[in-house]
């Protein structure tokens, strides 16, 4: 009877319950919902009933006397007080459970950057999707490189802001294998709504396999370029797909080898030289039409020469595609 909205399955009302927190949160949600209904229905009934019963009509004359009933007033002040005290208590207990870190956890370093997620695992692997092991407590060690972000997986009923200048922590234990949406819920600029990724919950065996795979840089130069593209926050601004999606920065597609106009006037050929300049020293290399985009950080010292070459190779591999229209 109690769970009219929440369910272990993906219902119309709630996402799937996929962590140990979910049943607790949903339970409290349902209780509050019932309490609300129990208060709301009589209020509306009384309102409608009085509206009809005491409506102005010929031959009816209501009283004008101001009423005041101490017993009633005390009752409807005190009863809700007890109710909200209970709600507070339950909420606090649930919250403390979320805040108390278990001792043995799988740690993931989460870095949020405009508008990409990056997850680093114990073995040095790095990914832009969050991989988790089912039934194992996972701890997120989160920091932001620029502005406020917020980590939210609805199926886990878990959320925490990521504040620049400090570490924020959270933990949860996924209980169901599958793929779940991971949102950024704190407004972070142009592409805030694009800062979505997936939390993928896998069995122990699969999880370890994934991590091992992620830890290895691909051998093929184009593959490696793509691998870096996904990991070095290029993906947040520069799109590489063909579906016509556009980010704040120019797309990687097309125009390879052709001259492109610069924001400061003049043209430059879109070639290896330009790509490496634009990566190492983005200021002054902005393409025309992209001046207003939030400034791209310099990658000087963050990328090795051969890594830049790999990215260049990757960009080159995309040249056949038509450039999307801005």
């Amino acid at each position: 009877m109690l769970p009219i909205f929440a369910d272990v399955h993906d219902t119309f009302w709630f996402p799937k319950q996929a962590s140990t927190f979910a049943p607790q949160v949903d339970f409290l949600y349902d209780v509050i919902l019932w309490i609300s209904i129990i208060f709301f229905i009589p209020i509306v009934i009384a309102m409608v009933y009085f509206m009809v019963k005491y409506r102005q009509r010929p031959g009816y004359k209501g009283s004008t006397e101001a009423l005041h009933n101490t017993f009633l007033e005390v009752t409807w002040s005190v009863v809700p007080t007890f109710v909200v005290v209970w709600i507070f208590w339950e909420g606090m207990v649930g919250y403390l459970r979320m805040q108390t870190l278990p001792s043995d956890t799988e740690d993931v370093k989460v870095t949020a950057k405009k508008w990409v997620w990056s997850f680093k695992y114990k073995n040095g692997a790095e990914s832009d999707k969050l991989y988790l092991q089912v039934g194992r407590d996972a701890k997120m060690i989160m920091r932001s490189d620029d502005v406020l972000h917020s980590f939210f997986v609805p199926a886990f009923r878990a959320k925490r802001d990521i504040v620049p200048g400090r570490y924020n922590y959270m933990w949860f234990q996924p209980t169901v294998e599958g793929t779940f949406d991971l949102f950024c819920t704190e407004y972070c600029g142009d592409n805030h709504s694009g800062m979505i990724t997936k939390a993928i919950v896998q069995s122990e065996e699969e999880y370890n396999k994934t991590l091992a795979l992620l830890a290895k840089e691909p051998d093929d130069i184009v593959e490696r370029g793509k691998w870096l593209y996904e990991r070095k926050a290029c993906k947040g601004c520069h799109y590489a797909g063909t579906e016509g999606a556009q980010g704040p920065g120019p797309s990687y597609n097309g125009s390879w080898g052709k001259p492109v106009p610069l924001a400061g006037g003049g043209e430059v050929v879109f070639d290896e030289n330009y790509v490496s300049n634009a990566i190492l020293n983005p200021q002054g290399q902005y393409r025309k039409g992209y001046e207003t985009a939030s400034a791209m950080p310099s990658y000087k010292g963050q990328l090795k020469l051969e890594q830049i070459e790999a990215i260049t190779a990757y960009i080159q591999s995309l040249q056949s595609a038509e450039p999307p229209k801005k």
């Binding site: 920091r143 400090r166 570490y167 924020n168 922590y169």
Partner: protein, 138 residues
């Protein structure tokens, strides 16, 4: 609060001929009182400067704040003649301090609570727009 204002026939018919006659609400402060408050304030200022020359550790800030509060109290009570003012005005200004305390208290309490999570930036590149740095070796 405005109880006295309701007696409508307040004598103020010829406003320009008041001279030294005081109506109910003007209370000129005696000069000796003004001067003595001022000298008390000066003495306290000297005291607060003097105490800063000793190394008192953590006590120092509390001591200087205490002296400042005494001074502020003197200013409020006498110069702003709150002691002779309507109680409402005193309640208002002192009440506001409660809200200040609330504001400071909660914010400080919270900042103290998450202090360990902070990442202090200890070295930053000192970039200043418009400044050119020329290195000169000695």
């Amino acid at each position: 609060m405005s109880a006295p204002s309701t007696h409508a026939d307040h004598a103020h018919g010829n406003g320009n001929e008041h001279g030294h006659g005081h109506s109910g609400f003007s209370h000129p402060m005696p000069i000796w009182m003004l001067l003595s408050v001022f000298f008390a304030l000066l003495v306290l200022t000297v005291a607060t400067v003097y105490q800063s020359t000793f190394d008192l550790g953590n006590m120092e800030i509390w001591l200087s704040l205490t002296i400042a509060t005494i001074k502020a109290g003197l200013v409020i009570a006498f110069f702003m003649h709150l002691v002779w003012d309507k109680p409402l005005n005193a309640i208002i200004i002192l009440g506001s301090l409660i809200f200040v305390a609330l504001f400071l208290g909660f914010t400080m309490m919270d900042a103290e609570g998450y202090r360990d999570n902070l990442i202090m930036t200890s070295t930053l590149e000192q970039s200043q727009p418009g400044a050119t740095v020329v290195e000169v070796s000695k």
